[in-house]
Subunit: 170 residues, 2 copies
């Protein structure tokens, strides 16, 4: 067993020993979803004030709305959420490369077949050159999307990994 | 401003007031990623023992490996992670419907154009009928994938929303 796997087991033991939330329902109690980045420096529950059971939390590279669309639809159409809080962050890896660079790295490290397989599931890496603009564009995409009804409230934010602050953009 | 937006602002104020982790680096310090579900009843940091800065956390509906592939590649090929901890959970919404049911609901609520738009980005809802089997299949998919090198350590787990325990499956 790896050190990381051992760490999951010991965390499970201590977390479950004092666990008192086994009664929570499947649909989020506060009917919202948070979409943010997979970045290791973000703890959404603490930073954005999410109590256990209150909200879906979707995370992917760059907090991409396009990438999250399947999960967003399930959250809204099947589990009753009515509000989206989208949070990108300073120092994001997605600000540091271009789509073709990333495909170049995958091809060099893993070969042309790996690139082909990846493109089958995900045609683009979805990086962005400007942070605030990327938040605005993703909110715009969700507002324009027929998949997200107009009744859904959407806001866009930036989390600062340097200060722990979350600031509204749109 | 909505109550949920106000809650983000007040959480930001209190979180940033005692924030001391502004120095953390972009690549995850412990070089691993956790892939789990967006379910509101999961707090990955607490339940799986993830310290801030240590691991990427990817979350989507059902902890789908296929859906997460773009993020996984970025985590490994661009940010140096070498281990995947995949965690699905009891009581998952993805156990409760079929692909065609979900498309039927979207079509009824949002119309045929919404279905078409969604399919452009995500051809399937990716539900699964059996929990342990779904964990095994996703781990198998990642191990077989040319996109994930053989050197990457992969384990599959189930989190119990009733008890707070995380148990190894594969």
């Amino acid at each position: 067993m790896s050190a990381i796997q051992k760490n999951v087991e010991s965390a499970s033991e201590s977390y479950s020993a004092s666990f008192t939330k086994g009664h929570l329902a499947l649909p989020p109690a506060k009917k919202y979803l948070v979409l943010t980045c997979m970045d290791a420096r973000i703890d959404p529950a603490q930073a954005f004030g999410i109590e256990l059971g209150d909200a879906h939390v979707i995370r992917n590279a760059g907090a991409s709305a396009v990438d999250a669309l399947r999960s967003i639809v399930i959250s809204e159409q099947l589990l009753g959420t009515t509000e989206i809080v989208l949070v990108k962050h300073t120092g994001c890896g997605m600000l540091t490369f271009k789509n073709e660079d990333a495909f170049g790295i995958v091809e060099k490290n893993l070969g042309a077949e790996a690139v082909e397989e990846l493109k089958k599931y995900s045609p683009e890496f979805l990086p962005f050159p400007e942070l605030d603009k990327a938040v605005e564009e993703d909110v715009k995409f969700l507002k324009a999307s027929k998949v997200v009804p107009d009744s859904v409230t959407i806001s866009g934010w930036v989390y600062e990994v340097e200060t722990g602050k979350t600031k509204r953009v749109v």
